[in-house]
Amino acid sequence: MALLNVTECAEAEAQVAIHARGLSKTFHARWPAHRAAYVVALDDVSLDVGWGEILALVGPNGAGKTTLIKILSGILLPTSGTADVAGRSIADDRGVKSVVGLVRGDDRGFYPRLTGRQNLDFFGAIRGLSGAALARAVSSAIAEFELSEVAHRSVQTYSSGGRQRLSLARAILHQPQMLFLDEPTRGLDPMLAESAEAWLVRWVREVPGRCAVLVSHDLEQVSRLADRIGILVRGRIALNRAAAELRLGTEAATAAALRRLFRDALGRTS
């Protein structure tokens, strides 16, 4: 019986793609003379995300959404708290980085003098791809995000939407298990945004053992894509619910309900 419990526990843990407990992040001024100035970006955040799920994080500007995904993807170090990402502790940041892909919330992060393809070649190579596998991954990502016509142009000539698609393409080159997407459709026209959304749902659902964390200010998009919705306000999780509990017939009605919850959460913490 005891053995069965252990197995059940292991199975339950295997269901969880992200397991974060008590994550806090305070940004202090660097120089001792200014130590009194600080910003609490995250305050005791705990959450679980299951495999096959899309967690949408919403919240006002400065709520800590980007800070949270940067900590979970191994870029930022938390002030306190722990998290396991795909079974790897964020303290082992190289282990975490090998299984996550990150789409940044701005259109920086590429070498402007290189072409889109050269950028992808480089970022694929530093993730261990080479030869035919690298060429295949780059070509497939270029095709997936409709970059074929611009892939030979230097990135400095790209539109904001072009850079955003390049960012999506880069995030999947190494076949990550987990994607962190910070406003991934910002700057995309409605058609491209729609196809990126459809791609994300396919990406998470088609292959077992994947999940995504989406940061978005677009509540309609959140109500379309999310399996779980977390509202962050002033660094705290003010609400964390399965999206199915909020779905109200139409997308517009769901988004309106979400908007009400968002306002309530803001009111509660102010």
Partner: protein
Amino acid sequence: MRTVWAFVVRDFHTQRSYRFALAQTILGVVFSAGLYFFLGRLISGAPELDVAGGSYFGFVVVGLALSAFLDSSLYQIASIFRSEQIVGTLEALITSPLGLSTILIGSSVFTYALAAVQALAYIAVGAALGVDLSHANWGAGIVIAVLGVSCFAAVAGIVTAVGIITKRGNPLAFIVSSLSALVGGAYFPPSLLPPWLQWLTALHPLSYATRALREAILGGASLLVIAPDLFALLAFNAVLLPVSLYAFRTSVRMARMDGSLAHV
């Protein structure tokens, strides 16, 4: 190794996109060497220049060749990382599972390849303008260059670490660069310095590298003859390389702590 090569390819493509950069560098070498050539006609013959057969131009060309590596270390590499920070690619690099030492080495290799081209151009222009290289011990020259450059690369890691933290303005690069010009022995023999300044020469790897390289390239000295300088360079490497990696790791950790990896 494959990963380091990816950095080289990246930097090659970037360099190629600036069509006149390499030509400008080579032209810079020609003009600078020309300047010292005429200056040398004015001041040659001093006993301190015996190692170069009394020729100031022969003396300074070797110093200029090594300084090309030091200048790249002090300014180019820190500026590469500063630029990575500004365009946001440093954060993208840190998102990958690469070790920090690989990122530092990968980002430096192409810069040192360009510095080597610059150094060879100084030697070639020197030879064209009459510097006698007929006795040169090139094998010893390569050994000295490798040991010297790895010392300078360690200094580059420390300077880059300071740059990641301070962002604008790199006081360390300025201090090391000014000090190197004064006590490194690249432009004039350190024996001309007043005694109270000469002790600084002993603390600077450039002074050992320039002295040994002159003896090997201009005087044809064997590795045995220049062994004391080689051991000194090895000792500098043993101290500076770990300090450099520690400083670089600490600076990136600080940036990951305060979220400034992508700060402008």
